[in-house]
């Protein structure tokens, strides 16, 4: 009956209270509107000069000679063989590094052993090596003057200036990607769930497939996507070991270089636009997956907090 009566002062007081105090606070911990928009302007100007315009010019230059020339540049046999080799190199390097990432993450996250931090640093090594040096080291091992050079020549095998060298160099530069995503997540998730499955009689493969994999699937996919983008776009390392034989050992980035140096700019940008599209697709997938990876991380934190 008398319920409206106390509701009136509350309704009047509450917004006044909620409105005035935080507004005063907000004024003290935010910048004036002019500063805000100046900072936004500076950020957008910087990104426009160094990010947006380089991306835009790829597509503008690619279509400069019309859509027919664009299609012709991509459908041309040398371009098609470059696309094929790029896909092949990624199709071998990415699954290899996926397998390695899973093994390394299982090892580091599920067991306590000596030398773990050294192993973690070693896994990161390829990220700090210049792409050119990544190619060079394979030349030193498999090149004609290298460790196995004579043996390979005697057996009529070719690694350097051939497809195997390209695959090896691509594998090296994309080595840490999947491991980097899986290790911190699986470390945070701990071993309780897997141990419970073990106690209940599950085998190793069952534990991985039914317990571990569902917990890390988005992070795994995230790592694979980043790994693939780098594998398809690698230039420096592949350039050293490729030998640049048209139609045989040219990947897409190397094909772009050749076209560009021959002043076939529209064709170079046409092939480049395919890689730019791949980059955009990668970014969209990456952005979408980031939210899911975050929720995997949060899911790994909550049970621990409630348990402890």
């Amino acid at each position: 009956m008398s319920t409206p009566a106390p509701a009136v002062p509350l309704a009047v007081l509450a917004p006044a209270h909620a409105g005035s105090a935080p507004r005063a606070m907000r004024g003290a911990t935010t910048e004036p509107a002019a500063v805000k928009w100046l900072l936004i302007g500076v950020a957008i100007a910087f990104l426009t000069l160094f990010l947006f315009m380089p991306l835009a010019i790829v597509f503008v230059e690619a279509l400069k000679k019309g859509f027919d020339a664009y299609v012709a540049a991509i459908a041309e046999p040398d371009a098609r063989s470059a696309i094929g080799l790029t896909l092949l190199a990624a199709a071998i390097a990415v699954p290899l590094n996926l397998l390695f990432g899973i093994a390394a993450a299982w090892l580091i996250a599920k067991f306590e052993f000596r030398g773990k931090s050294v192993l973690l640093t070693l896994i990161d090594l390829p990220f700090s090596v210049s792409p050119v040096i990544s190619g060079l080291i394979y030349v030193l091992v498999f090149g004609l003057q290298g460790w196995f050079g004579e043996w390979l020549r005697d057996h009529d095998l070719k690694v350097i200036f051939a497809v195997p060298g390209i695959v090896l160099a691509t594998t090296f530069v994309t080595f840490p990607f999947v491991a980097r995503e899986l290790i911190p997540l699986m470390q945070a998730q701990g071993t309780e769930q897997e141990e419970a499955a073990r106690v209940l009689g599950a085998g190793g493969w069952q534990i991985f497939r039914r317990v571990t994999l569902p917990n890390v699937k988005w992070a795994l996919l995230y790592g694979v996507i980043l790994c693939n983008a780098r594998a398809m776009g690698e230039f420096g390392a592949v350039s050293v070991v490729s030998g640049h034989i048209r139609g045989q050992t040219n990947t897409m980035p190397l094909h772009i270089e050749i076209l560009y140096n021959e002043y076939q700019f529209a064709a170079a940008f046409a092939v480049a636009s395919l890689l730019a599209l791949l980059a955009l697709v990668t970014l969209v997938l990456k952005y979408g997956l980031e939210q899911r990876v975050k929720s995997e991380h949060e899911a790994s934190v909550e049970p621990r907090e409630s348990a402890g």
Binding site: K36, V58, E112, V129, V132, A229, G233, L283
Partner: protein, 277 residues
């Protein structure tokens, strides 16, 4: 069933330790460690004077100056503008903010050869940006700086962003209550918290720039003594079949890179400690 391994410091009921350890070490050895050791072993066969000639000739020294100088300048520019970009993305709402946020990672995803030809076309004398500039960028040392700025752009933004997002509002409110104006709060309260992340981002961008090859060679013009970067010099020596000379320079770059890797690991540990994680 499971027998203890001498490396294990704690017993585990989980299977697969031997398999995972064996495969990880085998793969790491074959793909990374053995090939990398080839560079050091190759250099070990050189005499000291030959090594010194290879890594300290005037042309090589000029390439170090350009590579380290342009990498340093690009990383510093990225610290400044990366901080502004991170600040704007975390603190303000504006149209297309999410799209801008996603595009910051473009230099990670865009192949370096594509970035190279795009930047060259953009900053050439008749390019969209180059036409407006009174000085040469493409085919000049300044072009190296532009390419390395592009390559390093995401590092500072992505290391600063999470720290800025985690920053508790109470600190700034307390500073304001105690009479600090907004600029004082920024320089004395916010900036010290961000310092480890800024340093980490700087080191990551610098390390990445030192080894960069693909984007630079298109825009640099590659003139010996003027606009020739060290990674290109390694390739030039390889093409002249001077394997020892190329490897000697590579070893110098590898030692610098590994030193930076250790520094970055230490910085990241410091950042985590500051964040209380």
């Amino acid at each position: 069933m499971a027998f203890a391994h001498p490396l294990l410091t704690r017993h585990s009921v989980l299977p697969g330790f031997h398999l995972a350890l064996g495969f990880t070490l085998l793969y790491l050895g074959l793909i990374v460690l053995i090939p990398l050791s080839a560079a050091f072993l190759k250099t070990a066969t050189m005499s000291a004077p030959a090594f010194w000639d290879a890594v300290a000739s005037p042309r090589v020294l000029a390439s170090y100056r350009l590579t380290f100088g342009a990498s340093l300048a690009a990383a510093l520019i990225n610290v400044l503008f990366g901080l502004v970009v991170a600040w704007v993305l975390v603190r303000y709402q504006f149209p297309a903010r999410r799209m801008v946020d996603a595009l910051v990672d473009l230099p990670f995803a865009l192949p370096t050869a594509v970035a190279g030809i795009a930047l060259t076309a953009l900053y050439a004398k008749n390019g969209w940006i180059g036409a407006w500039l009174p000085f040469k960028v493409s085919y000049a040392p300044l072009g190296v700086f532009v390419a390395l700025t592009f390559i390093g752009l995401p590092f500072v933004v992505r290391t600063v962003q999470p720290v800025l997002a985690d920053l508790r509002g109470e600190l700034e409110e307390a500073a304001a209550t105690l009479g600090a104006n907004r600029w004082q709060t920024f320089t004395r309260v916010i900036l010290p918290v961000l310092t480890p992340a800024l340093l980490t981002g700087f080191a990551l961008a610098f390390a990445r720039a030192l080894g960069e090859y693909g984007s630079v060679i298109f825009i640099a013009g590659n003139m010996p003594m003027v606009s020739e970067i060290t990674p290109l010099l390694i390739i030039t020596k390889l093409e002249q079949y001077d394997y020892a000379g190329a490897t000697a320079i590579a070893v110098v770059m590898l030692v610098v890179a590994f030193g930076l890797l250790l520094a970055i690991n230490a910085l990241q540990a410091w950042t985590r400690k500051r964040q209380g994680r």
